[in-house]
């Protein structure tokens, strides 16, 4: 119990604001019961579709709420619940839309791929366990204090551990789950340790109060503040798989069911990045004069992390022959790109960090889930996940090969694709902020990454496969692949509208910063 805030109960209006989260929770509970009560002979696919319906409904609620909030123009005030510990603002809503869309696609992908995965025994859990994880991710984007944020993080992490171990008959999956638990534990410990120092020197867990108290606290406890922030960086660094905290990612992605790998790559990573964005911007931006040194050091640490992730991710992937491990390392490099707009901080000449971040996140969502969908299809038909299984795909499944080309273009940041503009915006942002060394790193890592991304293209078009059979794509997976390809192309053809829309509704003051 900390002072200054008395317990504020939830009102009915508050419940309405929380409807998207509550809805997911309700669907989750109903599905758990349903799974228990339904006789064995009824296929668990139904539960997958119900999960998808729940996600869609929740997405609708978030959208309605956001449209409602933005009717009054940019300066719409954030909705604060439970003594400002839960906030609904455009930052949170946009990210929730991203996560809900992503999870929706992943459920579809799971529906398309589950039948072939003999190792998964609890088919219903496979779907509905995604829901609490999703609620956790949504909490992380909305939280206004460290405790709520930590609860969201743990909700997400714990369910992810279970999901990774879902392929119960596979040793690889169990090993992956175990490793994920251990490194996740280290991460949680570091984050919590860092948070405790912040609470210790400022006397509050509320982000707004921390920001207010930090300037005074720094006078006496500068070293302790460093400890707090750096432990949080390291802890979140593990969660977002940024080098040198990324080593777990290839093993875990490889062992997990493919849709879950995609979930970790997109939603778990995105939620951790969002938490970094929210915590560090809320607490550090107000520091001035003497204290600005501290914030500068922390931004620098984030940028170093970003640079390390980009370079290590790209170079380590060069020698990777397993597609899922390769995509995991590509995710490491991409985490680096997304850390750039966060780490370059705000300046007079550059303040579009959030739109750069979220644009890339959206592009990343579609290209990564799309690539995972193709990987799941190909590995199913050839029985392994090696890069070689793509050989001769142009002849075996020309349309899927074409879609994969779109994803490869986007991942390597070539036009015409969402990844190109995402990377371009980030690059221009870094150049605007005069972080030229970072521009160099981005370009260098992109160039290196061409080599392994085009390994896919080389296999698909220039090698004739040993197996000649046509690759059959399940309808659900096909939908995912084509939705992702279409979205990737659309983001590459019409970057303007999306960017403008984000810029129009998002304002730093009311949507990100937490001040009392």
């Amino acid at each position: 119990m900390y002072e200054g805030v008395s317990f504020v109960p939830l009102t009915w209006t508050d419940m309405l604001y929380l409807a998207p989260e509550f809805l997911l929770a309700a669907v989750f509970i109903v599905l758990v019961l349903l799974d228990l009560l339904l006789p064995k002979r009824i296929t668990r696919q139904t539960i997958g579709w119900l999960t998808l319906a729940g996600i869609a409904a929740s997405l609708l609620l978030v959208l309605l709420r956001m449209l409602d909030m933005n009717e009054g123009g940019v300066s719409s005030e954030a909705i604060r619940l439970l003594a400002n510990s839960y906030r609904i603002d455009d930052f949170a809503s946009l990210l929730k839309i991203v996560f809900l869309t992503g999870t929706g696609l992943i459920v579809l992908l799971a529906l398309g791929s589950i039948r072939d995965d003999e190792a998964i025994t609890d088919r219903a859990e496979y779907y509905y366990m995604l829901l609490p994880a999703l609620i956790g991710a949504m909490m992380m984007t909305s939280s206004g204090n460290l405790v709520t944020l930590y609860i969201g993080l743990e909700l997400l992490s714990l369910t992810s551990y279970v999901l990774v171990g879902m392929r119960r008959k596979s040793g690889l999956s169990a090993e992956a789950a175990f490793k994920y638990v251990v490194t996740g534990g280290i991460s949680s410990a570091m984050i919590l340790f860092g948070m405790s120092y912040l609470y210790g020197i400022t006397g509050s867990v509320d982000l707004g109060s921390i920001a207010a108290a930090l300037p005074d606290a720094l006078v006496d406890f500068k070293a302790l503040a460093y400890v707090g922030f750096f432990f949080m960086i390291a802890g979140f660094g593990i969660k977002i798989a940024a080098a040198p905290f990324h080593a777990w990612a290839p093993d875990v992605y490889q062992g997990a069911p493919t849709p879950i790998s995609a979930f970790l790559a997109v939603i778990a990573k995105g939620a951790a990045l969002a938490a970094v964005f929210r915590i560090f911007y809320s607490t550090l931006l107000m520091l001035q004069d003497e204290n600005a040194i501290v914030s500068k050091d922390i931004w620098l640490a984030l940028l170093v992390l970003a640079a390390a992730a980009m370079l290590v991710g790209a170079t380590a992937a060069l020698r990777q022959k397993n597609t899922k491990r390769l995509l995991a390392l590509s995710g490491v490099a991409n985490a680096g790109y997304m850390l750039v707009p966060i780490g370059i901080s705000l300046s007079v000449v550059h303040s579009s960090n959030f739109s750069e971040f979220i644009y890339y996140l959206i592009a990343y969502l579609f290209m990564t889930i799309g690539a995972f969908a193709v990987v799941s299809t190909v590995s199913r038909s050839s029985g392994n996940e090696e890069l070689k299984s793509f050989a001769g795909m142009y002849y075996r499944a020309p349309w899927t090969a074409a879609a994969m080309v779109v994803f490869v273009l986007s991942l390597s940041g070539l036009p015409v694709s969402g990844g190109f503009f995402g990377k371009l915006f980030i690059l221009l942002g870094a150049a605007n902020a005069k972080a030229y060394w970072l521009v160099g790193v981005i370009v260098l890592s992109s160039v290196i990454s061409y080599y392994f991304y085009f390994g896919f293209v080389r296999q698909m078009f220039m090698r004739s496969g040993s197996e000649q059979g046509e690759i059959r794509v399940k309808a659900e997976t096909g939908i995912v692949i084509w939705a992702c390809a279409a979205a990737t192309l659309a983001l590459g053809l019409f970057p303007g509208p999306v960017m403008e829309w984000i810029n129009a509704i998002f304002s730093l003051q009311s949507d990100l910063m937490i001040n009392n």
Binding site: V182, K222, F230, G237, P244, A247, A301, P495
Partner: protein, 623 residues
């Protein structure tokens, strides 16, 4: 403004859809390929016809619609389309000829294994050409400009198993690329100097037309000349004409569509579209006029000595494009575009006729043909109409359009008038030579078994013949309707009895001499002797321009390139190998971390954490 005009952007989508469907279908659907491809251009033609009719009937204002494609900082890039009298006319002509050629190809390419691919390429070309015409700014025009270049490359090399076709495709691509660089430089210069970096034609027009002085005279001339370089490359003007005769290695319908009627006219269209820039620079105008005039007479003389049916027509195309350029250079937009339109009809007709002949006799050498007139009546009659139109004999279309150009030349530049007249004479001469050698005389061995082509091939011939015969009447010395409609009336109407009498006289004279030499064989010209004099050799080799280029550019370039190659393999390659090895070593190091041990991962995280903390924070606490 009616709904057709407002939705004109749909026009290129017809052939594009056809292209996509054909690509998706694959090679096995041969019949569907023909039908879908033809329907694509038919749809585009019908649509553009509605727009043309609307503009003819109501002569509404120009319609322009664009949207912001990309905003970088304060600069916004807009793309869109524009319907003017010129573009609406070009749309109809392009789609019309494309449709006829596709119809014709159903017969001509019937036995080709890759006919579906062929139709796909033609559809893609039609899409690109329509997009080029519709573009409302130089940037998107440039994109389509390159796209038609690619299609041309693909189609010249369509029979890529023949080494000559491969070489010709490569040559066309490289030579036109030289011109394209000029155009690109012009666009960059315009982007640099235009107010607000605007590249759309409306703004270009208002900037240069208004004499606003926003751009100095020197720069204007430079821009105009660079645009002209682009046009030289695409339209096969001297000295970049060398690719066009070689491009005849492609299928004959393609020669008719791309290398006679539409794509090569894109250079003329480009100049017409940016005419305001040229009108601001007298020097540029003069350059165009003289280059055009020289190309006209130069190519006509070469055509006189060729023996390959298609190469004669190709040089004739170069020569006629020279006429158009000359007209534009003399300030007559009407003359240039009018000749472009009539030429599109009669040259497409001639090429398709030639295709019909080649289809029947399986050779392209005119000395091996003869006496086809009795065996191929439709081809003969329609070809005759095309030849008469090209020779400038009234009342066929070529006469009227050539007359406009000659009348302008008579009024403004006597030297070019003489050149134009001389070219008209030579044109009539080589056409009569061609016609007599191919169709008259005794049947040769090759033409003994010739039969008339199927209806699907002769029908387009007849349709085109009607247009080649009659389309000239839209602009006559006593009726300047077309010029008024096209240019909105400011252009002076030139009419000159001298030009009419002169051009009819030289045309008839040319035909007569040709008949004397090749028909009656009464005059024994040097060309018919056993030992050819040097100038016939020179003409046959096209004035040795190719040889000159090989000696001047190709050989020195090859020498330079082998030197550069050595530098590349040893110095640059060494650096690249080193960089590659360095990255790969880094990758190996990074991969070594992945040993599967979770405790190693944790340790790595802790070590990384400590390093970052010490490096960044440590310095703050040092004394």
């Amino acid at each position: 403004m009616d709904k057709w005009t407002q939705t004109a952007w749909l026009i290129p989508l017809f052939p594009l859809t056809a292209f996509l469907i054909l690509t998706a279908l694959g090679r096995s659907y041969r019949r569907a390929g023909v039908i879908i491809g033809s329907l694509g251009s038919l749809g585009a033609f019908a649509y553009s016809l509605f727009i043309l009719v609307d503009r003819l009937a109501n002569s509404p204002l120009d319609y322009n619609k664009s949207f912001e494609w990309l905003a970088i900082g304060s600069y916004s890039l807009r793309i869109g389309f524009e319907i003017t009298n010129l573009t609406s006319l070009m749309l109809s002509v392009v789609a019309f000829i494309s449709f006829l050629v596709q119809l014709y190809s159903a017969g001509y390419m019937k036995n080709d294994e890759r006919i579906t691919v062929f139709y796909g390429y033609v559809s893609l070309f039609t899409f690109s050409m329509l997009g080029l015409v519709l573009s409302d700014n130089l940037l998107s025009l440039y994109i389509f400009w390159e796209l038609v270049g690619v299609c041309s490359f693909l189609l010249i090399g369509f029979w890529f198993t023949l080494p000559k076709a491969r070489a010709a495709a490569k040559k066309a691509f490289i030579v036109t690329r030289i011109g394209d660089v000029g155009l690109l430089l012009a666009i960059l210069l315009l982007f640099w100097y235009m107010p607000e970096h605007a590249l759309d034609f409306t703004t270009i027009q208002s900037v240069f037309d208004g004499q606003s002085g926003a751009i100095t005279n020197g720069i204007t001339t430079l821009i105009a000349l660079l645009i002209f370089v682009g046009a030289i490359g695409k339209s096969g003007q001297f000295p970049l004409h060398v690719w066009l005769p070689d491009a005849m290695e492609g299928p004959t319908p393609i020669s008719a569509l791309i290398h006679a009627a539409t794509m090569v006219a894109a250079g003329v269209f480009l100049i017409a579209r940016t005419f305001d820039i040229f009108q601001d620079s007298a020097a540029a105008m003069e350059t165009i006029a003289y280059v055009g005039g020289f190309t006209a007479i130069f190519a006509a003389t070469v055509a006189l000595a060729q023996n390959d049916l298609k190469r004669i027509l190709a040089y004739s195309t170069v020569s006629q494009l020279g006429y158009m350029m000359m007209a534009l250079g003399l300030g007559s937009l009407t003359g240039g575009i009018f000749h472009l339109i009539t030429h599109a009809f009669f040259k497409a007709l001639l090429f398709l006729g030639a295709g019909s002949v080649i289809h029947a006799v399986h050779t392209q050498n005119i000395n091996e043909m003869g006496g086809l007139s009795s065996k191929m009546r439709v081809t003969t009659w329609t070809f005759a109409i095309g030849a008469l139109a090209l020779s400038g004999i009234p009342p066929f279309s070529g006469f009227w359009s050539k007359d406009v150009i000659l009348a302008v030349a008579w009024d403004t530049n006597p030297l070019l008038f003489v050149i134009g007249l001389a070219t008209a004479f030579i044109t009539a001469l080589y056409m009569s030579r061609l016609f007599i050698l191919v169709f008259r005389g005794r049947p040769s061995a090759a033409s003994a078994g010739a039969n008339e082509s199927p209806a699907v091939m002769t029908l387009p011939l007849i349709v085109l013949a009607v247009f080649a015969a009659a389309s000239g009447f839209i602009e006559t010395p006593w009726n300047g309707w077309f010029g008024k409609w096209l240019t909105d009336g400011p252009e002076e109407v030139h009419a000159s009895g001298v030009a009419i009498v002169g051009s009819v006289a030289v045309g008839l004279l040319g035909l007569y001499i040709g008949w004397l030499v090749y028909g009656k064989k009464r005059l024994s010209l040097a060309a018919r002797q056993e030992k050819k004099p040097w100038f016939v050799n020179m003409l046959e080799r096209g004035w040795y321009i190719d040889e000159l280029y090989i000696a001047l550019f190709v050989k020195p370039l090859k020498l330079l390139s082998s030197m550069l190659l050595a530098f590349d393999t040893h110095v640059v390659g060494g650096v690249v190998r080193f960089a590659g090895a360095a990255v790969s070593t880094a990758g190996r190091t990074a991969a070594r971390l992945q040993n599967g041990q979770a405790q190693t991962y944790g340790l790595a995280a802790i070590i990384g954490f400590v390093i970052i903390v010490v490096a960044i924070v440590g310095r703050r606490f040092l004394p």
